[in-house]
Amino acid sequence: MKNILFVMLATLATPACAALNIFACEPEWGALARELGGDKASVYVASTALQDPHRIEARPSLIARARSADLAICTGAELEIGWMPLVQTQSGNARIQAGQPGYFEAAAVVPLLEKPARVDRSMGDVHAAGNPHIHLDPRNIARVAQALGERMAALDPSNKNEYETKTRDFLERWREATARWEKLAAPLKGMPLVVYHKNMTYMIQWLGMREVANLEPKPGLPPSTGYLTELLAKLQREPAKAIVRSAYNDPRPGEWLAERAKIPSIAIAFTVGGTPQAKDLFSLYDDTLERLLAAAK
């Protein structure tokens, strides 16, 4: 009798599958967690590539999923400041609160670019910690993978070896892919671009491209006709090769400008799921480079 009770209690205390329950704020971290965790990780992704990561709402479904998570993986650097703090406090989950091992911020292990010397809202919705859109530089993905693999192993020590092996294997494949992408992207060096939001800075820096202008007059503010007209004049003085937006950005402002400036306006996946081709982190980079190279011709 006692034994039966004990078994019942034990089954109640441990979830049906013993996998590490992961809540990923953005698709890129969900994809990375799947690479490093394999079948040991059960991953829920809180947002899609078609949604602006700044403007997710603390929806009931997010709170419900965060409630049972062992690990929340977010970008940090204030990217999720409008929703994740609420999800954390409302979830009643002690493990994923800020400062706990179950809350992992990718931006914390990456050197951030564009750290403002002073912050003032007249500059738009700037992030005081620096630009948080770190995932389109493969060297950042490698840094995050290393730290995340260690974190997963620490949280689920019974599968430590598995996470370590998977992380090593991923980093090896990632190193090879990075070398291949760098060779492939050589024609992009020096390519002048207009980007919608300052969310491609890391990729532009990695590939030596040039950001001529943003469609947003200030970070976070929607493009206005007046500002686009100014941009058109600027592009006549300082031409760009293409206008690049993320899958979640409104295509219309870029198309308006592209038509008048006679340059292509293209969308890149930005993260996993943003285009049908971008199925995981590797194909995200393959697809992004292919689209940029096509625009560079």
Binding site: T48, L50, A64, W83, A94, R121, D125, A128, Y248
Partner: protein, 388 residues
């Protein structure tokens, strides 16, 4: 050259110092609000026919220019175990009002959160939302009639989120009973009890929803108001039920360009006890209800339109004193108040909003109050996170 370098290094160090220092300061934000209002009727005479006055700030805004409440919000994690928040409203007549001052646990785990202090109760949908985040300048009539605008008691709240993929949240509150419908009893123990349950989820990538049911029980003593020149007072029990839902839609769940929000709440209150009228006391019981439905649509970045319909049902009010409408014209009318409101707002950024609101308010029996107002809401400082 060397001096220049030294200077730069010192400056950088000083700046880093400043940042590191401020990192330990709580998040600070300030909401500035103001209105320019027109109303055909005098807001000072405002009352809702058929309903006992709730004593809250329920009247339409002052006519002409007026400063709204300036809200100062200070919030921070206290230590790994608690979070704290203060919301102080600086009212236009130079008073400071504590809207919220509470602690909240972070480490109870198992889906449990305990809150204590003064806080906006989790009953209903709109109740826990701060005024500056409402989609209309004023509260729905049901909130005005049944809660004096909102319920923010002093007390404790325990809340539990179920470990399921469907969002299920259950909670209870014990409070002092500081404001209407309670009467701030001077006693040991709790003067108000509330229970609430919410369920919610995503119907698709584009649609999220939440529905809830709440209950508030209070025991008002000598809750008095003047009706027809005579003071009447009620002692007994007051039970309020609220059913609420909200549905949010955006194409692919991306609310940046267009999105739609639909919300509605139904209130039902039963009060029973004694009514004292002109120094005589008799039985009293009432069953009254009210509801509203509103929709807000963002049709392009920065621009939203909204419409709200309010209705209160006078229901049944019976008394053992034989009082009629001639004795108590406010309470014993057969009138059912209604209101139509429309709004258009323009948000230059996430931190500023300018709103035009028009309303045809039939709260008072036989009188139509046409209202128009322009409201401005500005948020300074830390980026707030808004509840769903």
């Amino acid at each position: 050259m060397f001096r220049k370098l030294l200077c730069a290094a010192a400056l950088a160090a000083a700046m880093q110092g400043a940042l590191a220092q401020s990192a330990f300061n709580p998040d600070l934000s300030l909401i500035l609000q103001g209105t320019a209002a027109y109303s055909k009727q005098n807001p000072d005479d405002y009352q809702i026919s058929g309903f006992a006055p709730s004593g809250g700030e329920v009247a339409p805004p002052r006519r002409g220019f007026s400063l709204g409440e300036s809200e100062l919000v200070v919030a921070s994690n206290i230590d790994p175990y608690f979070r704290g928040q203060l919301v102080a409203a600086l009212t236009p007549d130079n008073a400071v009002e504590v809207e919220e001052a509470f602690f909240q646990t972070l480490q109870l785990g198992r889906g449990l959160t305990l809150k204590g202090g003064r806080f906006l109760s989790a009953i209903g949908y709109q109740n826990p939302i701060h005024q500056h985040a409402w989609d209309f300048q004023d509260a729905p009539l049901a909130y005005k009639a049944f809660l004096g605008g909102r319920w923010n008691d002093d007390g404790v709240q325990l809340k539990w989120v179920a470990p399921t993929d469907l969002f299920v949240e259950l909670g209870g509150e014990a409070g002092r009973g500081r404001t209407f419908p309670a009467t701030d009893p001077n006693k040991n123990g709790a003067g108000a009890w509330a229970l609430f349950g919410h369920v919610g989820g995503d119907a698709s990538a584009s649609t999220a929803w939440r529905a809830g049911l709440s209950y508030l029980s209070t025991s008002p003593q000598d809750r008095a108001f003047e009706d027809g020149g005579v003071v009447q007072s009620f002692s007994g029990t007051s039970r309020l039920w609220i059913a609420d839902f909200v549905l949010k839609w955006a194409p692919d769940g991306n609310a940046s360009n267009t999105n739609l929000k639909l919300q509605g709440e139904y209130f039902r209150r039963a009060e029973s006890g004694d009514l004292t009228f002109n120094a005589t006391t008799g039985d009293y019981s009432s069953r009254q209800s009210g509801w509203y439905l509103q929709g807000v649509y963002q049709f392009m970045p920065r621009w939203r339109v909204g419409y709200r319909y309010d209705r209160l049902d006078h229901g049944t009010v019976s008394n053992g004193l034989g009082l009629t409408q001639a004795d108590a014209p406010l309470l014993l009318t057969d009138y059912n108040p209604t209101r139509n409101s429309a709004m258009l707002d323009w948000s230059l950024s996430e931190f500023s909003r300018i709103r035009l609101q028009l309303a045809s308010d039939k709260s008072r029996a036989g009188v139509t109050d046409n209202q128009a107002l322009i409201q401005v809401v500005f948020s300074l400082g830390a980026h707030g996170a808004h509840t769903f």
